[in-house]
């Protein structure tokens, strides 16, 4: 009997919860969501400045930015760990990122930037070394705009939102699965907003070596190494005791 009452109570809550979901992310409100990405600093160490905005609402909104990054850049997991401890920045990387490999030996990866309670995040990103080129032109690395995922703790599940269902004119949403928090203990359902209003993505330029100088560089380096070696060998031979 007790079990029956428990089941009834639970079902009651679920029904109440799902009836609230229709109000969780109303279509009109979704149109107010916008994201902007800027890249700052110069050289090989840059900052990606994210800013997500939405109009005020009565329940909490958690945002997750899914940023796909090309092989030309990397994020330092150790640096992100330190930043998480010191500044509360929450970034989760989807795979192991080699900090030292050049661009042509690396692959792209995805960074998940959690914005719980904040609307802004500054994430450090670093450039990789690219193949040397014939000309002295720098190489351009394009970073596409991030996908924006939304969730609210006050909404139980988003299973009533069907895949691909239009939420309103011009705003299409899709339910995706992603980690609930940066600790990656559990998976939640998030609402991904498609056709989002925002910037077109950022790019950075990185200098590369000059491959037309290969012979000069090799000859110069070997010559200097041989000269230094011979000089030191002579000194050691003269002053050593054999």
């Amino acid at each position: 009997m007790a079990r029956f009452y428990l089941l009834a109570t639970v079902l009651c809550f679920i029904r109440r919860g799902s009836s609230k979901q229709a109000d969780c992310f109303p279509s009109e409100w979704l149109k107010s969501v916008s994201v902007s990405v800027k890249i700052s600093k110069a050289g090989f160490h840059r900052d990606l400045q994210y800013r997500v905005q939405w109009s005020s609402t009565d329940h909490d909104v958690q945002a997750l930015l899914v940023q796909k990054l090309p092989s030309g850049v990397y994020m330092d997991a150790y640096q992100l760990e330190t930043l998480r401890r010191d500044t509360g920045l929450e970034v989760l990387l989807d795979s192991e990122v080699d900090l030292e490999a050049p661009e042509y030996l690396s692959s792209g990866f995805t960074a998940l930037v959690f914005l719980s309670g904040t609307h802004e995040a500054v994430v450090p990103v670093h450039g990789r070394y690219h193949r040397p080129s014939d000309s002295s032109k720098p190489v351009k690395v394009d970073i596409e705009p991030p996908r924006v995922l939304l969730r609210s703790d006050q909404c139980e599940t988003l299973q009533t939102r069907a895949l691909g269902r239009t939420l309103g004119p011009g705003v299409r949403g899709v339910v995706v699965e992603a980690p609930c928090t940066v600790s990656n203990h559990s998976i939640c359902s998030w609402m991904q907003i498609l056709d989002l209003q925002g910037d077109a993505g950022v790019s950075l330029e990185l200098p590369v070596g000059d491959s037309s100088l290969v012979l000069t560089v090799c000859a110069g380096t070997v010559l200097t190494a041989v000269l230094s070696c011979v000089y030191l060998l002579r000194k050691i031979w003269k002053h050593g005791s054999f």
Binding site: H45, P132, S228, L232, W237
Partner: protein, 323 residues
């Protein structure tokens, strides 16, 4: 204070321990206590030492281990020296280059009048075999313990990683730019061998030439190893800077020339650091400048080392002079 800073405290502690070991070694080699204190101050108050330890690099731990094994060897405590040497090589691989000078210093001197075979057998003395056995056992025992604890990951991170490491980013090494532009050429393997040859020759010859003065030999060894290495960053300088106070008492360079060489060393670093800063933090294409600065730094290092070698007076020479 979070547990994260325990590592830095350990390295700072090893810094202080290294200074104490330097003091004991200097006094053992004949310096007065007051001059030994000044020389230890060169290590303790060196901004590079302080910066590297407080930043969290483990170089001072290696310095303490290397200095303690040298101290044990100088005071004839060969068993302790072998233990500490095995531990040092396990911590970082570079002290393995000291194996040759240590082996040469432990072998008996070849006697004239005996045959070649007999001389070779004499070379492999009991002391050397004991040292090799103890340090080898310590090294392998530690490796076995950690392999049992961490499995294949341990071997990969400690040793195999260095074989396949492809870090072509800018650093002090004179070979950096050459390795970067030839990274995907089919003759990059042959070039890597070419880089290895000067290092090998110099290490062999210096081991033979200076085997009678172990701290000086180790200093020359490490300085050559670092200067001619494929990768060189500023924390590597600590590997030979910890041995410099041991070399200084027997150097007849004179203060002005010594300070001039020191200034030249700093100028060499500054000439490299400036284009490197503009490359990394401003995005300017200063690769060619960094390359030339790297070559210049090698020439400067070789000049300084050459001056140290030609102005070093080993203990026997000093004794002979007083006779």
């Amino acid at each position: 204070m979070s547990w994260v800073h325990c590592g830095k405290l350990l390295f700072v502690g090893c810094d202080l321990l290294s200074a104490l070991l330097l003091f004991r070694l200097l006094v053992l080699r004949g310096s007065t206590r007051s001059s030994a204190r000044v020389l230890c101050g060169l290590w303790l108050f060196n901004p590079l030492t302080v910066a590297v330890s407080t930043r969290g690099s483990a170089e001072s731990l290696l310095a303490a281990l290397v200095l303690s094994s040298l101290l044990c060897l100088e005071s004839r405590r060969r068993l302790s020296a072998a233990l500490l040497f095995g531990l040092a090589v396990h911590m970082k691989i570079y002290p393995v280059t000291y194996a040759l000078p240590i082996a040469l210093s432990l072998t008996g001197a070849p006697a004239r009048g005996r045959g070649l075979i007999q001389n070779l057998i004499r070379c492999v003395s009991r002391d050397l075999l004991q040292f090799a056995a103890v340090s080898g056992s310590v090294f392998f025992a530690l490796n076995l313990i950690f392999y049992c604890m961490y499995g294949w990951d341990f071997l990969q991170e400690s040793y195999l990683y260095h074989l396949t490491r492809r870090d072509i980013r800018h650093n002090f090494s004179p070979y950096f730019y050459m390795l970067y532009v030839t990274a995907e050429h089919h003759w990059s393997g042959a070039l890597a061998l070419v880089c290895f040859l000067p290092q090998m020759l110099l290490l062999l010859l210096s081991s033979l030439a200076f085997r009678r003065d172990l701290p000086f030999c180790c200093f020359i060894h490490t300085a050559v190893f670092v200067s001619f290495n494929k990768v060189c960053t500023s924390q590597y300088f600590l590997w030979y800077l910890c041995l410099l106070p041991l070399v200084l008492p027997r150097l007849t360079l004179g203060l002005r020339r010594g300070l001039g060489l020191l200034l030249l060393w700093f100028v060499g670093q500054a000439l490299w650091l400036s284009p490197a800063y503009y490359l990394e933090f401003e995005g300017w294409n200063t690769f060619a400048l960094i390359w030339i600065a790297g070559l210049l730094f090698l020439l400067i290092n070789s000049l300084i080392l050459g001056q140290i070698i030609s102005h070093y007076r080993p203990a026997e020479a000093q004794l002979k002079k007083t006779d």
